[in-house]
């Protein structure tokens, strides 16, 4: 069990500033997910916490104890590597037992823990195999098993599912989350898959270029992003960003698109943006908040937009249609039977309650 506190962390690789001032406080027992595009410094941050990378500035504390200069073995944490890192000369049993042996655990206890972990991860029948005789998913589970038998106070996962196929990944996601619920230790989990982040995290820490863009519970980041990057990163398909302007008509604030259409902002947001009128903005709206107008429901704050669908993308459970506002392609989530094909004219409803307005210069949500 451990609380981890990071303050003002900087890491350079030569001239490359990989981590640029990270502040992070993860309470005991939390499942925190580090997410961000490739190369944003997720692994570097994780490796710094594990003690595999020395940091140039800042403090890493575990349970209030400064660990910057502590050897990895003394930090007492467990890590699952991006590429498994199984010991090829040892069988599955020995791989899982390795950390216990290194810490001089009594033999009886080792045996119990290894067999328990093997049962949990469905590895019972594979204990005598060498890593090269396992499939990718099995190796993955051995790597996880090796971490969980350890009585570590903090668990680090570096994209543990990145090499699995979609189905196995779904399964393992569930396993890992269940595991966390069972052992209730602090987990720090790296991924660049935003769905994985959304489904697993108590808290998402979204990074870009070595800094944290935003952190908080998944839904908070999803619904109240503080900037354009966060808004665009979470959600699939990602949020539509439509260049537009704030205008005042008859004393009411509206959003005016390039094609001249205006959509009225809802009542409760009027006062907030009254002073901002006549400025350029980026209008952000998720595909699921644009739907087909069926005439019956005219909810508050939902505005109508007349579109011509030019591309239909069925995914099975959902169908996405794209249309253009000015030169900007926009994706809307439709029902399968809403559209016949490209060229369908469709009245759409835009849920203005869920839209976000972004400053085009700073890219911060206003």
């Amino acid at each position: 069990m451990a609380r981890i506190t990071i303050t003002g962390l900087h890491k350079y690789y030569g001239n490359h500033h990989a981590v640029r001032g990270i502040d992070l406080d993860i309470p005991e027992g939390e499942f925190a997910v580090l997410v961000g595009p490739s190369g944003c410094g997720k692994s570097t941050l994780l490796r710094s916490i594990a003690g595999l990378e020395s940091v140039n500035d800042g403090a890493i504390e575990i349970d209030g104890e400064l660990v910057n200069d502590m050897r990895p073995r003394d930090r007492n944490l467990a890590m699952v590597f991006q590429n498994y890192a199984l010991y090829p000369h040892m069988n599955v049993y020995e791989n899982i037992a390795f950390g216990l042996r290194a810490r001089k655990t009594p033999a009886g206890e080792i045996d119990k823990k290894v067999t328990d972990a093997a049962a949990l991860l469905n590895l019972d029948l594979l204990l005598d195999r060498l890593p090269r005789q396992l499939s990718g998913g099995q190796r993955q589970r051995v790597a996880i098993g090796r971490a969980i038998v350890r009585d570590a106070r903090l668990f680090l996962f570096d994209e543990p599912l990145s090499n699995l196929d979609a189905q196995l990944r779904d399964e393992m996601r569930g396993e890992i989350k269940r595991l966390h619920q069972e052992i209730r230790k602090t987990f720090l989990y790296v991924t660049h898959d935003q769905i994985e982040a959304m489904t697993m995290a108590d808290r998402i820490v979204l990074m870009r270029d070595g800094i944290i863009e935003q952190q908080g519970p998944p839904l908070e980041l999803f619904e109240k992003p503080t900037n354009k990057f966060v808004a665009g990163f979470l959600g699939s398909p990602s949020m539509n960003f439509i260049p537009s302007a704030l205008v005042t008509e008859d004393g009411k604030v509206s959003v005016k698109f390039e094609d001249g259409t205006t959509l009225l902002l809802p009542e409760d947001r009027q006062s907030k943006y009254a002073s901002q009128a006549e400025r350029q903005i980026i209008f952000g709206i998720r595909p699921e908040h644009i739907s087909r107008a069926d005439g019956s429901d005219e909810r508050v704050g939902v505005e109508k937009y007349q579109s011509v669908i030019d591309l239909v993308l069925p995914t099975g459970s959902r169908t996405y249609g794209t249309f253009h506002i000015g030169r900007t392609p926009v994706v809307a989530e439709l029902q399968a039977h809403d559209v016949k094909g490209a060229g369908t004219a469709l009245a759409l409803l835009v849920d203005m309650n869920r839209a976000i307005l972004i400053d085009p210069d700073t890219e911060i949500v206003i």
Binding site: L52, R73, R103, P131
Partner: protein, 287 residues
């Protein structure tokens, strides 16, 4: 029915053709092997021949009886001790060179000790022609009183083989995925334990290959042994040269001594074949 019979005929013809192809290949292989193995056979056969048989004309292809007199003489006169000397010196210097070289190689491979160029600089030492350093070393050894001693030759071969060991082992170690070591560190190992439990087992085939070459170099060396030994620790190659006389050559002794000196090399090659299996680190990371 007819189809089946035809198929049988085709199969039969095919089999006959394959058999002839195989026979041809075997003939060729046997022929080539004979050519290469003949000198070795000749060496062995001379060592078992009587003086009459050795100088007989036409040559005696197969000795009448296997007799060990030639070997007996070597052991009685104490000449055979030189094989023992070689064995001790080559083995001990190999162990030293492997031990020191492996540790140094690990440092070079993982901590980039000495920067980028230290590795090249080290291996370049090995490329020096021995003859250009043997006389300075001789003078040094005279001054130290190390000429004609075990430790003199052992230290020399250790030093001379170290660059080779470092170079080879560095290569093998760089091939080991670093995540394995990092994982072991996080799992609770110290650096030494990482080296012992992860790196060395994975570099095993490399260690054996390197050790065999190191041993063979020390075993076969002539120039250093000739100049740095006198009478106490003569090695076997130097001893053999004593049998080439101005008047006559002692062929029986040369042959018997050569056989004794070749046996360890046979063993070394056998070891190497046994352990030179690559690809042990397969499956360590990713697919």
């Amino acid at each position: 029915m007819t189809i089946e019979i035809r198929a049988q005929q085709i199969r039969k013809r095919q089999n006959r053709r394959n058999a002839m192809k195989m026979a041809g290949r075997y003939c060729l292989a046997i022929g080539i092997t004979l050519v290469f193995i003949f000198p070795v056979y000749w060496l062995f056969s001379i060592s078992f021949k009587t003086p009459d048989e050795i100088f007989h004309h036409p040559p005696v292809w197969f000795p009448e009886s296997i007799q060990f007199d030639n070997y007996g003489v070597l052991f009685k006169d104490g000449d055979a001790i030189t094989v023992w000397n070689s064995l001790v010196i080559a083995t001990v210097s190999t162990v030293f060179a492997m031990f020191l070289g492996t540790i140094a190689a690990y440092s070079l491979a993982r901590f980039k000790t000495g920067g980028q160029h230290l590795g090249i600089w080290i291996i370049s030492q090995r490329m020096l022609p021995p003859i250009v350093i043997v006389f300075p070393i001789f003078l040094l050894y005279v001054w130290l009183g190390w000429v004609d001693t075990y430790h003199g030759l052992i230290i020399l071969y250790t030093a001379f083989n170290l660059p080779y060991v470092i170079w080879m082992m560095r290569g093998y170690m760089e091939d080991i995925p670093i995540e394995l070591e990092e994982s072991a560190l996080v799992d609770g190992c110290s650096r030494w334990e990482v080296l012992w439990k992860v790196v060395l087992p994975l570099a095993r085939s490399g260690i054996f290959a390197t050790a065999v070459f190191t041993f063979v170099f020390a075993w076969n060396d002539f120039i250093f042994a000739l100049i740095l030994s006198r009478t106490e620790v003569t090695t076997f190659p130097v001893q053999v040269t004593h049998y080439f006389g101005g008047q006559s050559n002692f062929w029986a002794k040369i042959a018997a001594m050569s056989v004794l000196g070749t046996i360890p090399i046979f063993i070394a090659v056998a070891i190497m074949q046994r352990f030179l299996v690559r690809g042990i680190s397969m499956g360590a990371v990713k697919g």
